[in-house]
Symmetry: none
Amino acid sequence: MRVEIVAVGTELLLGQIPDTNSQWLGERLAANGISSYFHQHVGDNHERIVLAFRTALARSDAMIVCGGLGPTQDDITRAALAEVMNVPLDRDEALVATIREMFDSRGRVMPDNNLLQADVPRGATIIPQTRGTAPGLICQVGLKVVYAVPGVPYEMSDMFERAILPDLLERQSESGETSVIRSRVLRTWGASESALAESVAERFEALEHGGQVTIAFLASGIEGIKVRLTARGDNDEDAWSLLRDEERTVRALIDEKLGDIIFGVDDQTMEDVIADQLLARGATLAVAESLTGGLIASRLVNVAGASKWFRGGVVSYASQVKFDVLGVPEGPVVSAEAAEAMAVGVRKLLGADYGLSVTGVAGPEEQEGQPAGTVFVGLDLGDQVHHVALRLPGDRPRVRAYSAISALDALRRVLERHEVSPPM
Amino acid sequence: MRVEIVAVGTELLLGQIPDTNSQWLGERLAANGISSYFHQHVGDNHERIVLAFRTALARSDAMIVCGGLGPTQDDITRAALAEVMNVPLDRDEALVATIREMFDSRGRVMPDNNLLQADVPRGATIIPQTRGTAPGLICQVGLKVVYAVPGVPYEMSDMFERAILPDLLERQSESGETSVIRSRVLRTWGASESALAESVAERFEALEHGGQVTIAFLASGIEGIKVRLTARGDNDEDAWSLLRDEERTVRALIDEKLGDIIFGVDDQTMEDVIADQLLARGATLAVAESLTGGLIASRLVNVAGASKWFRGGVVSYASQVKFDVLGVPEGPVVSAEAAEAMAVGVRKLLGADYGLSVTGVAGPEEQEGQPAGTVFVGLDLGDQVHHVALRLPGDRPRVRAYSAISALDALRRVLERHEVSPPM
């Protein structure tokens, strides 16, 4: 079964609202082993909706239409469906009664407009509404099937789980397709997409020529590159077993070629990983930030329970604040020495076990003769002080964002190698 | 000109990432008076990409393709374009040199994979890359035109503004469509979308029945609600004149009903406005943050030239840091008194003219018997100390983000009313 999603609404074309429905449906379909090869957005215009529906039915086995089922003049999905099915719209009196009851039960009078929602293309099956007034529809169009649901995410998701997914799975099993799709994401920081692709190129090629797993690379902006492994198996266990084996192979290849660049899996963020490391040691952290201006601290605070291991930080944007508050020796502040002194200073000032700092040039102008993108990370683990020098690309916001995640990654790597000193 | 947007990437079909590109492009096209009737998503599969391209070229005048221009094996937009154009791919040696230079300048070796990015369908024009390695393409296909840009939003948006939009506007004007659409956005913070809509309801109705300006409300998440005025005129001057008159009318209505909630216009952010206020007074600012954990400081630092007026901040996440570093009296820290003491403390510690602070409960758990969403903002202007008590909705990240912009808005409002003391 290949399902095409068609989201109806001029507001989607104008970019006035994001299309969260297609994303949600895509994820739910994939999780249930149902393929989706195309999505479309189309505005509230009869001819164009009909054209989008015909396009979808020509290239996919099933179509889920979201939106255009409301009670106003621009809700025309029902009429477009009737045209594509080549049938008239009939007013369903049982639906009229249900919609009227819904208004009565809220002590409101049903506007006449809502009668439109009881119009049903002849031959269609109704998906009863439980969360709104617009019923959903299941329409057979030749050998293809169309599901129409309201665009309100809360009503759409209910109808999908209750009526569409069971129907799709039944059709899929009747057609003999019973496989499931599962995926695993490896999160990396510090390598380019092309370097990653090269590190697993041979494996990628081998899988292309007949494997049950595929590898994809997703650039995720300032969050690094994701390597996604997707397996199709006969059942859940089968798919996960394929994924586990593939993950081992791919991790070994990346580790060999590019070193320790995989920091987490699936939805894990860099700060989640650091939270786990700190919790495991019972250690606390303080941060001193110059060019990142609070970005590192605000990422750390996003982890629920951060108060267990995060003391706080100092944003020492002005040089004088570095000297006066953090005890950095007067002199150049874009330097390894300043970064280390900031880490030591903030660790002591805030009474933390570890101190992390970052200083550098966000740009666009150079500073102290150093070009934009020059960044130093300082680390004070109490028993040892480190620094890392970086050269980061991009404009001002990019340099800042890259600096923040790079500093966290530096801490992650050092903590992985750092032996915890025995308590005094 | 009817432009179809085709976003390429299996991750979009699987719902692994939201398609922010189509939304952004849709908004930018609409703002420039260019129609878009259809959007598509398609996965990284040659045949299906070709089919999606042919579908778009059959029903639209132009197509913007996002994604699939990267250096890896699953980046196949170039090859699909060549097939639709019925031309071979040629390797462009000038592009090879540019890409190689880009790697050299970062002190890295170009992986061979990146050579793929120098492959160009014969006859295509190159949009030079300034922010990444993948060049964009402009391809004439019969009477239609195709623009291909990388899927990375930051690279996509740059190429759109620099090359695609000017080209589209030129083609549009050549085709005799000469009316221009201009818009003006009023940025608001602190009122709901329905309250805003109600405040201008009569004007909205009047314009619906025959005006040259339209009013739209765009909820922009944590950045408040935008009120967008759009005017269609015969020329630039005409459209701007309509907009100026309408802006005056709408501002007066909103101000009368809802008070001083318009903080800026168009792309102006809250921190841009504060930067202007501080620069005008020659004053400096320091911030003390608890639940926002650096969000306020990092917003302020995003303004170019922030070093002229921003001293820095303290993220006093642990209560002990509030007491020890900021001199907050021991006691409850989710209180108006603590907020004021934090503002005073950070102003003095960092040697700034003004201090801004925020303390509160991000949730999900309550703290000191106060529910999630309880937030206090403190302000020390040197000659007067204020606080503002807030009750904010949402989960942990929302409460934090709302707290940050609310604190900045409180400072904006106080500074608007605050008379600058004569210098000593």
